[in-house]
């Protein structure tokens, strides 16, 4: 599943359900303001509306009243990318409904609800708020892995994207299945929620299989398929599937190495609209090593055509090709740290002026002084602690640049303050590659979002820097409320900036925004008011 962290974990305020009293009025003032917000209580009340990897708007989902013993009435307010309120949809849902996702495909919105008693419901609406169709999945039918994903999404305040637009004709959803062992299913629906096709793992498969959709175009759907023998097995194989979006048939399965020749993982793929090639970026491993427990040898960039045939393959070893750049760019302090070995989690791939820019974030597993101390303390009092003896240290942002022939030509380290993510007991046994996904799912990375203005060839990567000190000429440093880091890639050139953000609200957070902007949500408890404003990041 594609996982997009939308909240800033430095701000100790989870994105939350907005509980509103009676009617909410959207006022038009200097920022979009929602009055009568009594409390912000749990995750998933507001979020971005995504259309083909592009933010097109926002939604706020709020409770209105209890309809009867089983149902409640909710309202969904939809805003465009300028935060202008464009539509309100009133909806009656089983009580304790959570809105997990809203996806838009130019003609229809799909709303994905989760209810702890009744299960999943997918409802589509046209642009005028008229219901087009719905599809229910009874709770008993939902595989445990799927439920776990939804629960983690709700608990951590992160947005797991499982639904993708299928052009403007419908949507594709990626889910788990209850086969002999857990499998995967990609199900395509039209805008009226009629099933178009289904593509998934074999029902009698003896393996644990999961799928992660990476790209959808008119010509192809690409997905990475992971297979392993058991749920706890640390041996895993990856396959890259090219699927026909018209009928859901497999075009080609591209193997990603094997035990004897060395395995490959897929960290990110890139498929440009109208392009005839797909770029795969991932890590390669020594023969016999496995990506759930062993350290990779380096990064690879693989180019395949739309039929799945390999066109090019480049490998860049950590110790040779990449270290060379690191040494040129790093300060002495960074070089010292680099020796201990950081892994990179890739958040995005940007194509600009024929070059690929890989946006990553360094992290490494290390012994947690706090975790060890808690265990010792718990042991001393005869109890036990859930804290692991390890933690994840999240470090600098990385921008790797590949030229037209996929050669690594730059490895840029963008410094930011290091932060820690504590691991749960037992998590310390997994390799860094796996832990990267874990940190991502908990919203632990500082990376926030990327916005792309393809027409102007301008791409903006936004992250949070825990170092809140502003750069001033004066010796006395000033601290902003929060510091955003911006990596801007425009016409193939990289520029970095640190942007201080100030607010008078005690609770505030960031959301993805249209290119060049960030959306700031501010909650004023005394006034019971929720404000959203757009701020331009770079000028």
């Amino acid at each position: 599943m594609k996982n997009t962290s939308k909240s800033n974990r430095l701000i100790k305020m989870p994105l939350a359900i907005v509980a509103l009293f009676m009617w909410a009025n959207i006022g038009i003032c200097q920022s979009t303001s929602i009055p009568n917000v009594l409390k912000l209580r749990s995750a998933k009340s507001s979020g971005a509306i995504i259309e083909n990897d592009k933010l097109v708007g926002y939604y706020v989902f709020f409770f209105k009243e209890k309809e009867d013993r089983k149902n409640s009435t909710y309202e969904i307010q939809i805003f465009d990318d300028n935060l202008n309120a464009v539509k309100e949809i009133a909806i009656t849902r089983p009580k304790r409904s959570y809105l997990l996702e809203i996806v838009y495909n130019e003609k229809a919105f799909i709303l994905f609800f989760y209810d702890s008693k009744t299960g999943y419901e997918f409802i589509t609406y046209d642009r005028n708020g008229k219901q087009l169709g719905n599809h229910k999945v009874d709770r008993k039918e939902i595989p445990r892995a799927d439920l776990a994903l939804s629960a983690s999404s709700l608990n951590s305040g992160t947005e797991n994207v499982t639904i993708f637009p299928l052009g403007s004709k419908g949507f594709v959803r990626s889910s788990y299945t209850k086969n002999k062992k857990t499998g995967y299913n990609l199900i395509a629906f039209d805008n009226k929620m009629n099933e178009l096709w289904r593509y998934g793992s074999a029902e009698d498969s003896k393996l644990y299989e999961s799928a992660e959709i990476s790209n959808i175009s008119d010509e192809v759907i690409t997905a990475t398929i992971y297979k392993r023998k058991g749920a706890m097995s640390k041996k895993m194989d990856a396959f890259f599937h090219l699927i026909n979006p018209k009928d859901g048939t497999l075009i080609k399965e591209v193997p990603m190495g094997n035990g004897s020749e060395g395995k490959l993982t897929v960290l990110k793929t890139y498929l440009a609209k109208g392009s005839d090639k797909i770029i795969l970026i991932g890590e390669y491993f020594k023969p016999g090593d496995d990506f759930l427990k062993d350290k990779s040898q380096g990064l690879f960039v693989r180019e395949i055509d739309m039929s799945g045939n390999e066109k090019d393959m480049k490998k860049f070893s950590w110790d040779g090709d990449i270290a060379k750049f690191k040494n040129e760019n790093l300060t002495e302090e960074d070089k010292k740290e680099a020796k201990d070995g950081f892994s990179i989690f890739f958040h995005d791939v940007i194509k600009s002026d024929g070059h690929y820019f890989l946006i990553g974030e360094q992290f490494r597993k290390q012994v947690s002084a706090g975790g060890v101390a808690m265990n010792v303390l718990a042991g001393a009092t005869g109890g036990s602690s859930d804290a692991a003896a390890f933690e994840i240290r999240v470090s600098n942002m990385i921008v790797m640049e590949l030229d037209e022939s996929n050669e690594l030509i730059d490895f840029k380290v963008v410094k930011k303050k290091r932060t820690s993510v504590y691991l749960q007991k037992g998590m310390g046994l997994y390799s860094s590659a796996f832990l990267g996904y874990y940190v991502k799912s908990t919203g632990g990375f500082d990376y926030s979002f990327t916005s792309n203005d393809k027409e102007k060839n301008k791409h903006t990567v936004v992250y949070v820097d825990a170092n809140r000190k502003e750069e001033k000429d004066d010796k006395a440093k000033e601290k902003s409320d929060v510091m955003l880091g911006v990596i801007q890639i425009e016409n193939g050139k990289i520029e970095t900036q640190r942007i201080p953000i100030n607010t008078d609200a005690k609770r505030f957070w960031f959301e993805a925004a249209k290119p060049g902007f960030v959306t700031i949500g501010e909650y004023y408890k005394k006034e019971k008011k929720l404000d959203f404003r757009l701020e331009k990041l770079t000028y």
Binding site: M22, W23, I28, C29, Q30, S31, T32, I49, L55, V56, G57, K64, E65, K66, E67, D68, R69, T73, I78, D80, D81, N82, L83, N84, V86, K87, Y104, R127, N128, K472, D473, D474, A476, E478, I499, P500, I501, N502, K514, I520, R533, L534, E535, K536, L537, Y539
Partner: protein
């Protein structure tokens, strides 16, 4: 931007130097301001009305009005019914005090005196013995109201929108009609009827214990009362229109010239001036030497496209006022009985005061930090009155302040997301204001001041220069101008901003 924190500790010598410079410059300003006044005899220089946030006399007056209303009510009503009325009178007092506290009321000044004189004219023509006090309300919307307290409230936005004095007098007479016909009392007695209606109250009380459909049930109970209340309100508006029509003639004004008012109300969801602002020429963008093409290359379409507007089924029934078309038709029906008057009345006096209302709206927008409104009103006024000294200063000041707020990444609070009237040309200006960089904002202010040397050379009380001092790190000059600004009693809106910047940037002497 070079806005570093200014921490330098000055020596005594410096202080003496600075003080003597201030005296010298103040002397220079006095001499030159005098010469400016002489040289620009015909030039309008707007002085904003003073900001009043507390006023013992008005507070006492409000209390007295409330007491008198309660006493009058007590003569006719008792028990629960009286308590309901008392509650409303007290709420009215609180509402008045909250407007006063927020600085929303203009209680004196040139514009105020003018409108009050019109109120007096209307009152005298009706031989009403007591004075009807006026308050101008710092609000952009074209509105006026009366809350049965022998006082009239006229929004600045209404004066800004009306086309002639006849229309303004009609509005005054209409509001006076509400007052003299006791419409407010009639409204609150309907409220008292509701709260003393045991059957309704029992049903409302039951909702508290109802677990489901609380909002819907409350709506169902309240809807008949709400519909009848709104119907009554529309009836009162018709009565007030008739009252206004009668008064208009008595005062020597022409109902013919007032007819356009209903079109103004009809267009109240649009900007008054709907022509495009020529930002390139008005702001001399080419002279800045900076590239504004991206900011001018507007894309204002919504990312989600245009949605069909839906009319609520109850919309017509829940209106407080009849449709403007209906009001206009009724007005025209009556007007047909009287001869058509001369249409070419000299409106110079009225237009002068309307400009003052525009000035007040600019001040209010700056005070509330609504920079798009401040810039919009300023540019519109400048288009018509390029010699207006006040607006020539608010334009560079607004841009310099916007530049500062952009640096602080707070411009999102200062620039609206969209026109409150869904006006595409206004949205075009908003897009421009959102897109320009802080340096471009400062550059616009700088070029503006350069093109208007009288603002920089002769009149040091040009607040944009203070912003530029911060931008250019000329802190000595900052303090000089700061002291000059502080001496000016009517520029509260400037001091609010300057003090904020002074504190935020730790600018020390």
């Amino acid at each position: 931007m070079k806005h570093k924190i200014y921490y330098l500790a000055r020596t005594k010598t410096y202080d003496i130097r600075l003080t003597s410079r201030i005296f010298y410059l103040l002397f220079f300003v006095c001499i030159n301001s005098f010469s400016v006044l002489i040289a620009q005899e015909e030039v309008r220089c707007f002085e904003p009305s003073r900001l009043v946030v507390e006023h013992e006399g008005l507070e006492e007056r409000a209390k007295l009005i409330c007491t008198n209303s309660c006493k009058a009510a007590k003569q006719h009503y008792s028990g629960k019914y009286y308590r309901a009325l008392k509650e409303k009178y007290e709420a009215r007092e609180r509402h008045f005090l909250s407007m006063l506290e927020a600085g929303d009321l203009i209680i004196d000044g040139e514009l105020y005196d003018y409108v009050q004189s019109l109120v007096d004219l209307v009152v005298n023509s009706l031989q009403i013995n007591e004075k009807r006090k006026l308050y101008l309300v710092r609000d952009d919307s074209p509105n006026a109201f009366n809350i049965g307290d022998d006082q009239l409230y006229i929004h600045l936005g209404l004066i800004y929108r009306v086309e002639n004095e006849d229309q303004l007098v009609f509005v005054i007479a209409h509001e006076l009609g509400h007052n003299e016909l006791n419409h407010y009392d009639s409204t609150i007695t309907r409220y008292a009827d509701l709260v003393t209606n045991d059957s309704i109250q029992r049903r409302i009380k039951a909702i508290k214990y109802q677990e489901y459909r609380t909002v819907s049930t409350l709506n169902e109970i309240m809807l008949p009362w709400l519909l009848s209340s709104k119907e009554k309100s529309r009836l009162q508006e018709r009565e007030a229109d008739d009252y206004g029509f009668n008064v208009l003639e008595k005062c020597g004004y022409s109902p013919w010239r007032a007819t356009g008012l209903f079109d103004i109300f009809e267009n109240s969801l649009k900007e008054r001036d709907t022509t495009a602002l020529d930002l390139v020429n008005l702001l001399n963008l080419e002279q800045t030497g900076l590239d504004f093409s991206e900011a001018l290359d507007t894309v204002v379409e919504s990312s989600l496209g245009i949605f069909k507007e839906e009319k609520d089924t109850l919309e017509d029934l829940l209106r407080t006022h009849p449709h403007n078309e209906e009001r206009k038709a009724a007005f025209l029906e009556r007007i047909s009985e009287i001869p058509k008057t001369n249409e070419d009345k000299n409106e110079e006096r009225f237009l002068k005061y309307r400009s003052l209302a525009e000035g007040e709206l600019i001040v209010n927008a700056l005070y509330k930090g609504n920079l798009d409104r401040a810039i919009f009103y300023s540019l519109r006024l400048y288009e018509r009155e390029p010699e207006n000294l006040f607006v020539r200063k608010t334009i560079p000041f607004s841009f310099a302040y916007l530049g500062y707020e952009k640096k602080k990444r707070r411009a999102g609070k200062r620039i609206a997301n969209q026109s409150p009237y869904y006006d595409s040309l206004y949205n075009y200006m908003l897009y421009f204001l959102r897109e320009i960089s802080p340096d471009q904002c400062f550059s616009i202010a700088q070029v503006w001041n350069k093109n208007h040397p009288d603002l920089t050379n002769l009149d040091l009380a040009n607040a944009s220069m203070i912003m530029m001092d911060v931008y250019n790190e000329r802190y000595d000059d900052f303090w000089i101008r700061y002291h000059i600004e502080r001496e000016r009693s009517r520029n509260y809106y400037v001091m609010l901003i300057i003090n904020q910047i002074k504190d935020e940037e730790y600018i020390k002497k």
